[in-house]
Amino acid sequence: MLKKIEDWNYYELLSVERTASPDEIWEGYQAAMATYQDGSLALYGLVSEAERELVLGRVQEAFQTLRDQDLRREYDLTLLRHAPYFPPKAAFRKSVGRLEIEEAPPRPTLRARIKRLFVRNP
């Protein structure tokens, strides 16, 4: 995915999956700290000092958030909010003019429909 450093989410920063366990997050954090620590060889000749400090700060922020269950849940929700909107592919119920996933009222029975023809306010 074509992304700028500022746009990497916490999971991408730590190179872990969204479903990562606390142990995997800890492991990812250790690896990221080793990558972005002061004097790291892995960045030699490619990344500037200012950029390194910026990413290191975000790595710490990422770990602080993802280690805490509540904060992580909250963060996951914000990620979902930023996710692109895919229209629901639910069946459209023509009789009530609504999608199945919406709380469509039950389809009126034949008896109710006939009754509605004669009674104005049932």
């Binding site: 892995a42 000749g45 500037s48 950029e51």
Partner: protein, 312 residues
């Protein structure tokens, strides 16, 4: 089964490219596989020495000058069953500056070799010849050591590969005006590749998508050689991660090969290291590496990026 061309390259000399290539070839041959090794280090060939053989004819130069009809005929048998070798040329001055049409012929003949496994031992540096041989490999394996100079040159090598891939696609799709723009932008800083693609996507999304796909098709592997401790092993993982994030390429870290004094002593004795030290940690790492690639589904299923070299 598809043919696998293992291109072993890297940015810096002395990282152990030929050692990795020789050990890999000997390992595959020991599994009763048919292997042809090509010493494509055009400037300083010495793969034969690492296999315990003497320089001689026919060699790569004989094929390129037409003294031998095909690359197949230049591949000589070695004392190891199933392993054949195309020696590097002694006529270094001629071969190091390989003309374009000869390079195309060599690349074509490599694809036509009657074997399942071809191992290309490449030279140091970022000349077009070396890069094209590296890009023709599937997988292309970059060998680095845990030293600042090697890491720096590894990134330079990867950047050169990226620019070469993009240039080839630009030439193919006749979008030559982008080339200078790319050169200007990519030299700037670590985020430059991202910036180049971002601006390209804004101005011309179709070309941007083509080039970005081409870039994602370039999937090199990394091997960290001569590691001495756990920190060096982790460094390889970090380098692959940084390459993924800053150079936008899907780089796979194959693992680390621990430093072993016996490699030097084998070399001094003009004997190959692998068969005599099969239980050593370095030999185990080579085995693990080749198995990782051989059974990796992503590498088995994917088709290698078809890079068409321009005829001019």
């Amino acid at each position: 089964m598809d043919k696998r061309v293992w291109a072993i390259g890297g940015g810096k000399g002395g990282t152990g490219k030929s050692f990795v290539a020789a050990s890999l070839g000997l390992h595959l041959a020991s599994l009763d596989r048919d292997v042809v090794m090509v010493d494509a280090d055009l400037g300083a060939p010495n793969l034969h020495t690492l296999l315990g053989l003497k320089a001689g004819h026919p060699d790569l130069g004989d094929f390129l000058t037409g003294r031998v009809p095909s690359l197949e005929a230049a591949a000589v048998a070695t004392p190891y069953r199933g392993l054949r070798l195309v020696r590097g040329s002694e006529n270094i001055l001629f071969i190091a500056n390989l003309p374009h049409f000869r390079k195309l012929r060599l690349l074509r003949q490599i694809r036509q070799l009657a074997t399942q496994n071809v191992i290309l031992d490449l030279g140091t540096g970022s000349s077009f010849n070396t890069l094209d041989f590296f890009l023709s490999g599937n997988p292309g394996v970059v060998v680095a050591t845990p030293e600042p100079t090697a890491i720096e040159n590894t990134y330079l090598f990867l950047k050169s590969c990226i620019m070469r891939v993009l240039k080839l696609y630009m030439d193919h799709y006749k979008i030559r005006d982008l080339h200078q723009k790319m050169l200007d932008q990519i030299e700037k800083n670590s985020q430059s590749l991202y910036g180049f693609f971002r601006s390209l996507m804004e101005t011309d999304r179709a070309y941007g998508t083509i080039l970005y796909r081409a870039l994602r098709g370039f999937r090199p592997c990394l091997v960290m050689n001569k590691t001495r401790d756990e920190r060096d092993v982790l460094l390889g993982r970090s380098v692959a991660d940084v390459a993924r994030k800053y150079l936008l390429i899907d780089m796979k870290y194959l693992g680390a090969i621990p430093y072993d004094e016996d490699v030097q002593s084998s070399l001094r004795g003009l004997r190959p290291y692998y068969p005599e030290h099969k239980d050593a940690a370095a030999a185990r790492a080579i085995r693990q590496m080749s198995e990782e690639l051989a059974y990796s589904i992503e590498f088995t299923l994917r088709t290698p990026p078809e890079i068409r070299l321009p005829d001019t």
